[in-house]
Symmetry: C2
Subunit: 254 residues, 2 copies
DNA sequence: GCTTGACCTTGACCCTGCGTCAGGGCCCCA
DNA sequence: TGGGGCCCTGACGCAGGGTCAAGGTCAAGC
């Protein structure tokens, strides 16, 4: 009666798809003619069109196999189930659309809006790209671990930028990025830093409380990698009674 | 610094995914420690989070690889492209939802609504399920080949059902389905059939014109398979000057 | 020093829904 | 008899990993 390609074209599917349906047990293997060609009747065409109809409605083939022999009740239950799956997939893609819409805005590759705003503020204040990238990478790590605390952190960081003495220190650190590890000028930086730390301890208790030690270590490592002088600076801070960087703590007097 | 599982948990992906990204060239292989373990720095965590962010936004991994090193312009172009793909996938699933909503209504597995209405009309008129299934299978084949002509066909078929003589013949054919191939009562059926054919030739020219010969042969085969008496009936029709079944044509006198 | 359990390593097979060879047989036409 | 167009089986490939398997490593507790 029909060859496989005739059958396939009747049903509007490819020859390969028909053989696939045979392999998956959706469509029974037909008789063969004397030379081994598959030989289909009209019933196969009808069955194949039913398969195609279900498959093109987004029903997984394993499910199609069950549904072809199912009663009306089972069939309707499955339809409900498949519709639920389709709705979930649509919602998922809609969320994806929202995310990539956010990504279109540059820095927000992995950062919430408040962090993007903070980085933009750094740019407005004339801080250099290199420093901003360092900050960005650090906050990407924080945002991945503690997304719910980002608003708090960003509020505190923006307050720092509003303080002229702190901002000046930031500007001076730009030059320090190029210093060798034993540059003597770092002493002055360390002194000013300690003064700022001791003047501004408010708010940072909450900050430190939610920051896991491991994350703080990782962020310290990012800082240490960012400039040669970093290690020296941390040592000088320890001499002045403060340990750490991300999560500063006063060294208790012995 | 970090083991693979620590890195994975920082970025919120599985260990397997990290190795997969290595294999796909998205994330460079890091140094190994003395026992062969991968040893990651903070930069890897940042990079992995960027990968995860893009991947979870529905960007294919091959595309992620290109985008990580891309400039802003290229990146934005890609974003537009990905958004287009997501919209297309959403539309596709919405169409799937519509189709399975139609499927929930029974016979419409591969049939347009007007065909479902026609089959329902047969049911109302008390014609048996077996005959309705035969019709359904035949119209599934037609709908697959000539969906745009289904309204015309169904209009003509419903007119047939409205004709009392035709309807009576349909009812009488039910009994004939069980007859042997040589039952003498088929002569009377053939006579009545020819009378109906010759009384009602209007409208069917259009019908026959758009029906490909191959499809007509297939439908004839469906009919021949459906009851033993079918072949005899076709022979008797030929004796009376009509050839075929799906696409009847008058045999020209020699 | 030995075991236990939690990690780590590479390699390989599994899923969906087919597309696309590769290597060969069959049929018809010139 | 040669060529082109069918057909056959078997196998690899895609994304995005999941899930073993078989073995090496590490720290802790006995």
């Amino acid at each position: 009666m029909l060859t496989i390609s005739q059958l396939a074209s009747y049903a509007g599917v490819t020859v390969r798809a028909v053989r696939h349906y045979h392999a998956k047990g959706l469509l029974p293997e037909p008789e063969r003619d004397h030379s081994g060609y598959r030989c289909y009747g009209a019933a196969a065409a009808v069955e194949l069109i039913r398969i195609r109809t279900l498959a093109s409605a987004g029903v997984p083939l394993a499910r199609v196999r069950e549904l072809l022999g199912a009663g009306e009740e089972e069939f309707n239950a499955a339809i409900v189930d498949i519709d639920r799956r389709l709705r979930a997939e649509i919602r998922e893609r809609q969320r994806h659309r929202e995310r990539i819409a956010q990504l279109a805005a540059g820095d927000s590759l992995a950062l919430p809006p408040e962090a993007v705003a903070y980085l933009d503020r750094m740019r407005e204040l004339g801080l250099p790209e290199q420093m901003i990238e360092g900050e960005r990478d650090a906050w990407i790590l924080v945002a991945a671990q503690l997304p719910e605390h980002m608003p708090l952190y960003m509020t505190l960081k923006r307050q720092q930028l509003d303080d002229p003495a702190t901002l000046q220190l930031y500007h001076d650190l730009i030059g320090a990025a190029a210093w060798e590890a034993d540059d003597p000028r770092v002493e002055a930086i360390a002194d000013r830093l300690v003064a700022l730390i001791e003047a501004d301890t408010e708010g940072w208790e909450d900050y430190d409380e939610v920051m896991p030690d491991e994350l703080a270590q990782l962020l310290d490592a990012v800082f240490l990698d960012s400039m040669p002088i970093a290690r020296t600076l941390l040592e000088l801070l320890e001499e002045r009674g403060w340990r750490g960087w991300t999560k500063l703590e006063r060294i208790p007097p012995i």
